[in-house]
């Protein structure tokens, strides 16, 4: 089958969605299909740009392909007679984030009109697709609540799940991933000041804005955490990541209100490491249950410190939770076999 994978793109920014799009394209080819990754520029500031990009997507054509698989707003508006959605998230500023601090859209006449346009367009254009799959229960739930649309959850697999392993339960908590405000690495670093055990923290990833990296460095410096926190501010390779997971005591992943459980959670479980997360972290709760497969605590530096200390002092407990996470990951039927079968049938 000839397929096009449609995703939005902000130039020079790489995140989970970009990696998933790359991986899906590569895997489709591996399974004998032909795949073209189509990245469509998207800009949402000022908000009037949102409407222009919605229109642009509607005006685009994808000739010569049997099916398109679309990931995101507004790429999923591109017309095609055989279109499947693998929805990572809608334009959340118009939905669940509307009325919160992260609303983004102005609460003005214009902002409300733009929001209405997005809702109307979603309601009319998302019904023209063959099938809607989503990356998580949360995304499916929102689609049901806000648009009355049914969908099926299709968990995104890791590119190479077999590479993860566990060699020991070491002395550090590992926190990989893009560095930004919503991922709350700052809070994680702050919590180290309250740890009573000698547990250490490794934060590794590229900062989206240099302010975010500077803020973390400032906290380390101001609280004298140089010996306790290692901050590796760059893209880390797959091999490095595997290695750091393998020797970690546990993983910390505390984003604010994520839609899905996140790759980090899956990687941690496949490395047999428990995950520390927060009650307000969102989709991670699909997999992380307190004291069963990790720790779920308040988004508070002292509570996080308590969870880290407890794991350090009870490595047998950390191992038990990590093993439980590994077992859970095995039951989820998260595999490329399944994803390719479902998306091409």
């Amino acid at each position: 089958m000839k397929l096009a994978v449609l995703n939005n793109a902000v130039p020079f920014v790489q995140g989970g969605a970009e990696h998933l799009a790359d991986a899906l394209s590569a895997k489709l080819c591996e399974y004998g299909h032909q795949a073209l990754l189509v990245r469509i520029p998207f800009r949402w500031e000022p908000p009037s740009k949102i409407l222009e990009h919605m229109l642009a997507c509607r005006l685009m054509r994808i000739p010569g392909v049997d099916r398109v698989i679309a990931f995101k707003f507004p790429a999923f508006y591109v017309p095609h007679e055989d279109k499947v959605l693998w929805l990572l998230h809608q334009f959340r500023q118009a939905y669940d984030l509307w009325g919160t601090a992260l609303q983004g859209l102005p609460d003005s006449l214009e902002g409300r009109e733009i929001r209405d346009c997005i809702l109307t367009a979603d309601n009319s254009y998302l019904t023209e697709v063959n099938n809607i799959f989503t990356n998580s229960e949360i995304t499916s739930g929102r689609l049901k609540t806000f648009n009355g649309l049914k969908s099926e959850v299709l968990h995104p697999p890791l590119l190479n799940p077999e590479q993860f392993s566990c060699s020991e339960y070491g002395n550090y908590i590992f926190a990989p991933g893009r560095i930004n405000e919503a991922k709350r690495q700052q809070l994680l670093v702050e919590s180290m000041e309250f740890c009573r055990s000698p547990v250490k923290l490794i934060v590794a990833g590229k900062a989206e804005r240099k302010e975010d990296a500077e803020a973390i460095r400032a906290i380390i410096h101001k609280r004298g955490l140089q010996d306790r926190v290692e901050f590796i501010e760059r893209f880390i390779t797959e091999n490095e990541k595997v290695e750091w997971f393998s020797r970690a005591l546990a993983c910390a992943y505390i984003p604010y209100d994520e839609d899905s459980y996140g790759y980090v959670t899956l990687e941690s479980f496949l490395s047999r490491k428990p995950v520390i997360t927060c009650v307000d972290s969102g989709g991670i709760h699909e997999l992380v249950k307190d004291r069963a497969t990790g720790r779920v605590v308040a988004s508070d530096a002292k509570d996080l410190a308590g969870a880290m200390d407890a794991l350090y002092q009870n490595k047998a407990g950390a191992r038990r939770m990590g093993e439980a996470g590994y077992d859970l990951a095995q039951t989820l039927d998260i595999s490329w076999d399944r994803v390719i079968r479902v998306l091409t049938s």
């Binding site: 000839k2 793109a9 685009m60 054509r61």
Partner: protein
């Protein structure tokens, strides 16, 4: 530098621009630049064109990158404060093919309006560029004639010419190209029957999808003239190693497609292997690269006259060698190399 490369693509169809873009991407990265590639699908159905032109105007990359390099039409419609276009060809149905049998736009008021909109949008978008390059003087002349805009010729190099090597100047002439009618491999067979020397001919390349009948026709032609002992047709994908060997050991290279815009990669590959190129007056872009008697021969597209050229290259192999060596020099003199391309696109 942060560089955005944008092009239009016909999904799963490889054309000349596919390679130029892929190679440009690699060379920019190799020069230490941060590169983002946008390959935007484009339907050539005339009733979908205007929508897609508008889409390109609306997609906004203006906040990103120190430079936008637009390659295949109509990607230059994207807006950017530092936009450079490396123009490969027009949407030719609206330009030089309008009024010919190759015109795909209908001859209706609607088709005419569509043509005018394409020309108008090119006129506006090409003038937004801080610099406008094109791949050949043929295209430069068309830009001047149809859009009244001046462009600088920037010749597209091979990805890695150093891979080619020069072996003995052997007994055969090589025609290495896609097997398709307008490349005129048949003309090489027609010419071979008029040769007076035992020079052999190797035709090699992949048939275009659905063009197997063209390959049968070539075989029939060989039979018709009883040239089975002197012509080999390798109608398949040829590995890079085999290709390099074919070029390394030939006496010279034939390349005479009908009226192409650019000199074509086979000409550059020939020169990379220090081989002369035999081409025809009506082949188009090859005439920019080949100087008759210097780095190859240019004859009228007449089988008997082509045959004379074939014999001359066979009989005087030291001349063939001299011309091949001049070819390598000619490529250098014209600045056909990636350092030059990258420097000019980013200047």
């Amino acid at each position: 530098m942060r560089v955005i490369v944008a092009t239009s693509v016909a999904p799963f169809v490889d054309g000349g621009s596919t390679q130029i873009v892929a190679w440009l991407h690699r060379q920019l990265q190799a020069s230490g630049h941060d590169v983002e590639l946008f390959q935007l699908p484009f339907s050539e159905s005339y009733n979908e064109i205007l929508d897609q032109l508008l889409a390109l105007r609306l997609l906004d990359l203006t906040q990103h990158g120190d430079r936008l390099i637009a390659v295949r039409t109509p990607s230059h419609l994207l807006k950017h404060p530092k936009k450079v276009t490396w123009f490969i060809h027009h949407y030719r149905s609206a330009y030089d093919l309008w009024g010919t049998k190759y015109q795909t736009l209908p001859n209706t008021p609607e088709g005419l309006a569509c043509r005018q909109a394409i020309i108008n949008s090119d006129n506006i978008a090409l003038r937004e560029c801080t610099r406008l390059f094109c791949n050949s003087t043929v295209v430069k002349d068309r830009l001047q004639r149809f859009n009244q805009i001046a462009a600088e010729v920037l010749y597209p190099p091979l990805l890695d010419p150093a891979r080619f090597r020069s072996g003995p100047y052997g007994e055969y002439l090589l025609y290495f190209s896609r097997l398709t009618h307008h490349k005129r491999q048949w003309l090489a067979i027609e010419a071979l029957r008029y040769t007076r020397t035992p020079v052999r001919l190797i035709i090699a390349g992949c048939p275009d999808p659905g063009l197997e009948p063209y390959v049968f026709d070539l075989h029939r032609l060989v039979e018709k003239y009883g040239l089975e002992q002197r012509v080999s047709i390798l109608s398949r994908w040829i590995s890079e190693d085999d290709k390099i060997e074919l070029f390394a050991n030939c006496a010279a290279v034939l390349y005479f497609p009908f009226d192409e815009d650019s000199y074509g990669y086979p000409s550059l590959e020939a020169h990379a292997a220090r081989k002369a190129v035999l081409t025809t007056i009506d082949a188009g872009g090859t005439n920019e690269l080949i100087v008759n008697g210097n780095n190859g021969l240019i004859t009228p597209a007449d089988p008997e006259l082509i045959a004379e050229g074939m014999d001359a290259l066979y009989n005087d192999r030291s001349m063939a060698q001299r011309m091949g060596e001049s070819g390598e020099q000619r490529v250098r003199d014209l600045g056909i190399n990636w350092d030059n391309v990258v420097a000019r696109l980013l200047a």
